[in-house]
């Protein structure tokens, strides 16, 4: 039987506000346990939540960026359950009326057609604290620094049909929230994570299969592996004559498997109801328009512009707009370079990203800034150096030896464009290599490269390649 895979994701993006969603405590990561939890976060008696307006603005920004409706009226609800890291015994979330409804996002898996994934809703909620089970001699420690951190839960439609699509969607959202500057996207610190709802059905069947929900996936790799494992598991269950049960499962990255956490029967009754401590969130059109006016150029718009205005290829534009930082870097460098944006694109995608990958660095940590790279590209464009020599210049800049001009100066890398000097060198090479000249002239065209190499060798690569080509052709004719 051929199976169709159906995946929906619930992504939790931690909003980049300075203070918590319902209190004034800091959201900074990594402080000593329980030093960033005030009376509201601790759920002490008598304290009350007050909504952080910045979190609302960020949620609205997201909604507009995915073409969703930003609700004029949304309601905060209490989700009730007991857990030591949930101080009030309920989480303040949104249930029936979320702040964002009905968006969409185009994704593309390499080598496949682009697809549009529906976004059911996005709602605001507070994060819980952390339970620490190690180092407490059989007891559990609770750190409430994270309690009350604002989250935007982004719920997709069950529109994805492969683990690869799920990853492409998650990456796209990850990029988008950073473009919007509403989430730092740091997955190690848990700022961006997701739950995956996975089911399978016979290809062609309309009715959805029974799904399982895989909790707390905090890397793209884990999402892909967990989904693939889960799909295989479900196929095995059904083909073995069994039935998939609706349940929550955990992905164990060490064993690369998912395992059952609780079944539907054991599921909590969260007893959602509107939180009487918070008034409904009212957002008017003027506010929505004001937020819309602050939207940056979005990845897809930027990509289209890179293609139409800068002449980049689809693939190049896609890579360069995958993150706002990379796109900004490229644009800054290309602007300084002046002409030939594709050359700039190739340098950023090739040499720069290669060097960064090699050292495991992020673009923000690059020793070669966009200004430095742009300056060097300018020197290629004005023929001060050749592309080949530029590799050497780039390496020097990477090692902190200054900008392109000072490296070129210090190392004497300026391109030789004096045709008299190049002609002299060519003449010597013709004299010294009569055999090759003979062969070339009798039709062995491939030997042309040999002569170019000889000239470059003699000039230590500094000769202008175009000029060398032209002069060689004349002299060897």
């Amino acid at each position: 039987m051929e199976w169709e895979i159906v995946i929906g994701l619930e992504i939790h993006a931690q909003l980049a506000t300075k203070s918590k969603i319902f209190s004034g405590a800091s959201t900074a990561y990594g402080a000593e346990p329980n030093t960033q939890a005030c009376a509201v976060d601790l759920g002490l008696p008598g304290v009350l939540p007050v909504l952080n307006k910045e979190a609302v603005r960020m949620a609205a920004k997201f909604g507009l960026a995915v073409g969703a409706r930003v609700s004029n009226r949304s309601v905060f609800a209490r989700k009730n359950y007991f857990y030591p890291d949930l101080p009030k015994g309920y989480q303040i979330s949104q249930f029936e009326l979320p702040v964002v409804e009905g968006g969409r996002l185009a994704i593309q898996v390499e080598g496949e057609e682009a697809r549009v994934i529906g976004i059911t809703r996005a709602h605001l909620e507070e994060d819980a604290g952390k339970s620490l089970h190690e180092d407490f001699h059989g007891s559990t420690g609770v750190d409430l620094n994270r309690a009350g951190t604002p989250l935007l839960e982004i719920v997709s439609e069950p529109d994805m049909r492969s683990a690869k699509e799920a990853v492409a969607y998650m990456k796209k959202i990850h990029s988008l929230v950073q473009y919007l500057e509403i989430c730092d996207g740091n997955m190690q610190e848990g700022s961006f994570r997701c739950d995956a709802n996975v089911s399978i059905r016979p290809l062609g069947q309309e009715k959805l299969g029974t799904r399982s929900e895989i909790k707390n996936l905090n890397s793209f790799r884990f999402v892909e592996r967990a989904i693939n494992f889960e799909v295989e598991r479900q196929i095995d269950v059904i083909e073995g004559g069994g039935a998939v049960v609706q349940e929550t499962r955990l992905y164990d990255s060490d064993k690369d498997e998912t395992r059952s956490m609780r079944s539907k029967e054991e599921a909590f009754d969260y007893r959602y109801f509107p939180d009487p401590d918070l008034l409904p969130l009212e957002i008017d059109e003027a506010y929505i328009e004001a937020v819309r006016s602050t939207l940056p150029e979005l990845p897809d718009e930027k990509k289209a512009r890179f293609i139409s205005e800068l002449g980049l290829a689809e693939y190049e534009a896609g890579v360069l707009t995958a993150s706002r930082e990379l796109a900004d870097y490229f644009e800054a460098a290309a602007k300084i370079a002046g002409e030939d944006a594709r050359r700039s694109a190739n340098w950023v995608m090739g040499d720069l990203l290669g060097a960064l990958n090699k050292e495991g660095k992020e673009i923000a940590e690059s020793p070669v800034s966009a200004e430095l790279l742009g300056g060097m590209l300018q020197r290629i464009n004005d023929k001060t150096i050749s592309g080949k020599i530029a590799k050497q210049v780039f390496e020097c800049m990477w090692n902190g030896e200054g900008d392109a001009d000072s490296v070129i100066e210090a190392k004497g890398l300026k391109q030789v464009t004096d045709s008299g000097a190049i002609e002299k060198i060519i003449d010597e090479i013709i004299v010294n290599n009569p055999g090759q000249v003979e062969q070339y002239r009798s039709g062995k065209d491939k030997l042309f490269g040999f002569f170019v190499g000889q000239v470059m060798k003699a000039t230590q690569g500094k000769a202008n390649p175009a000029q060398v080509n032209e002069l060689l052709k004349q002299k060897l004719a």
Partner: protein, 484 residues
């Protein structure tokens, strides 16, 4: 001196007739003498009170005193007070000291009022007789075999016995007005959102409202001038100007349109109470008011609706009392479940547990629509009744409670009968309206309260209406014999 109103005490403090330290000492002495019998205080904050009184005397001398500077008052033990135990009359919080001050008590503190102590109450404000307190029942100073009403029973008992000249209370379903009625005092429940709930331990968040318990409407106005106002720490508090509540007390009430809801005078109303209320209404007519019968058709639904909404909210408001971070924790929990169940099982009393169970039930999957949602719809109908009524009349009057103070233990084992003692007060909370109870006379030697319900944010008119009556009568100045 101990029977004076706070308006009188304020004047005496200003004139130098008495110092705040002297006054405070006087009331502390009275508390020592009578509290063992009445049980109206959970904590008496003697040292802090004397210190605050000395500071108030300085302020009085320096000439920058506010009207309540130096006046001793008592706070219901539901308000968190920094550094002073706040129990909510529950074993759960027997050891709880808040690291913050409620907005309400902070405003009194900043105004220079002197806190004498924290008053007894029904556990988590759940009760109508003050018999559910972990610290024991409170006695009614008019007859110590009887209840003072609840849940602000400690506050009314203390003020009625002249152990404090005024006190704060909170009212979720009548918890200021019903005990004020049963103890012969003036009690005001302001419009929902008028007084900040920050630092006030929540029972039912959409209904809870703090207000004053005093001898006179004039005193209630002084208290309201301090308590009322927007607080950015309470999202449900209303950003709206606060009038000077003392300014309009003496306005004439000729032509005032009083509505008498026929549903408030039917079956279940004690004859003696009915007679007193009728006489009070006559008095208003004599003062120039016009009386008209009105109808609040959904009155009978108020109590059952309340007992869905309030428990629903309390069941989750009280989830934070889990033995993990503060409050009562059971000995040697063997696992997390044991920690929760035993800490909560031991920490909460029977009435609190009953309401948590009702509330959990009505919010459960499968019951939510039939109970919680239906109750919310009826709540809107009840508000609509009042809205329609206020198109015809200025204020609504009726009995505050169906009977006078009942005997201790009389209704303790019959929750439904107990719940019905709030039959006239609950609808007001459901609608979020302001209402006062004012002393209107006696039935069989026990005080009877007249309830005056106003339109939203119409506290000034309520106080004016009450004050005019108190100018013409002296029911509010009666003191139980033993405490004169």
């Amino acid at each position: 001196m101990h029977t004076k109103t706070i308006s009188q005490l304020s004047a005496a403090l200003r004139s130098g007739e008495v110092s705040s330290v002297e006054l405070t000492t006087l009331f502390l002495e009275r508390i020592k003498q009578h509290n063992p019998a009445l049980n109206c205080f959970i904590s008496v904050t003697e040292a802090q009170a004397l210190e605050a009184a000395a500071a108030a005397d300085q302020r009085l001398k320096a000439g920058n005193a506010a009207p309540l500077t130096g006046v001793p008052i008592a706070h219901k033990d539901i308000f968190c007070t920094e550094g002073v135990k706040t129990t909510c009359a529950s074993k759960m919080l027997d050891n709880f000291i808040a690291p913050y001050e409620s907005t309400c008590t902070a405003r009194f503190r900043d105004a220079g009022a002197v806190m004498l102590g924290k008053t007894n109450m029904d556990e988590f404000a759940m009760g109508s007789s003050n018999e559910t307190s972990y610290y024991g029942a409170v006695k009614n100073p008019w007859d110590q075999a009887r209840v003072p009403g609840g849940s602000s029973g400690g506050s009314v008992s203390a003020v009625a016995a002249r152990l404090a000249p005024a006190a704060t209370g909170t009212d979720t379903g009548g918890s200021i007005r019903q005990p004020a009625a049963l103890c012969g005092l003036t009690g005001l429940k302001p419009t929902y959102g008028r007084v900040s709930r920050f630092g006030m331990i929540a029972f039912a968040s959409s209904l809870d409202q703090a207000g004053p318990i005093t001898y006179s409407a004039e005193d209630a106005a002084l208290m309201m001038n301090v308590m009322a106002g927007f607080d950015e720490r309470d999202s449900t508090s209303v950003e709206r100007d606060v009038p000077d509540y003392s300014a309009n007390l003496d306005n004439g009430i000729e032509g005032l349109k009083i509505g008498l809801p026929k549903e408030y005078f039917g079956e279940g109303l004690d004859d003696g109470v009915a007679r007193v209320v009728a006489a009070a209404v006559k008095e208003y007519e004599a003062l120039g008011a016009v009386v008209k019968e009105i109808s609040l058709p959904n009155t009978a639904l108020a109590v059952p609706t309340y007992y869905v909404v309030a428990p629903a909210e309390c069941s989750t408001n009280l989830s934070r009392f889990d033995g993990v971070r503060f409050g009562h924790r059971c000995d040697d929990p063997k696992d997390l479940f044991d920690l929760y169940t035993r800490s909560r099982g031991e920490g909460f009393g029977a009435e609190v547990k009953r309401r948590i169970m009702i509330g959990t039930y009505v919010l459960s999957a499968g019951y939510y629509d039939a109970y919680y949602l239906k109750a919310q719809k009826i709540r809107r109908l009840i508000s609509e009744d009042f809205r329609a009524a206020f198109e015809e009349v200025d204020v609504i009057m009726g009995p505050t409670a169906p009977s006078t103070a009942f005997k201790l233990g009389e209704k303790a084992d019959d929750p439904v009968t107990m719940y019905l003692s709030d039959i006239y007060t609950i609808a007001v909370n459901m609608a979020g309206l302001p209402a006062a109870s004012i002393p209107a006379g006696f039935a069989d030697g026990l005080p009877v309260g007249l309830q005056v319900i106003g339109n939203y944010f119409d506290e000034s008119r309520l106080l004016n209406v009450a004050h005019k009556y108190q100018q013409a009568t002296d029911w509010h100045l009666q003191v139980p014999k033993e405490f004169q």
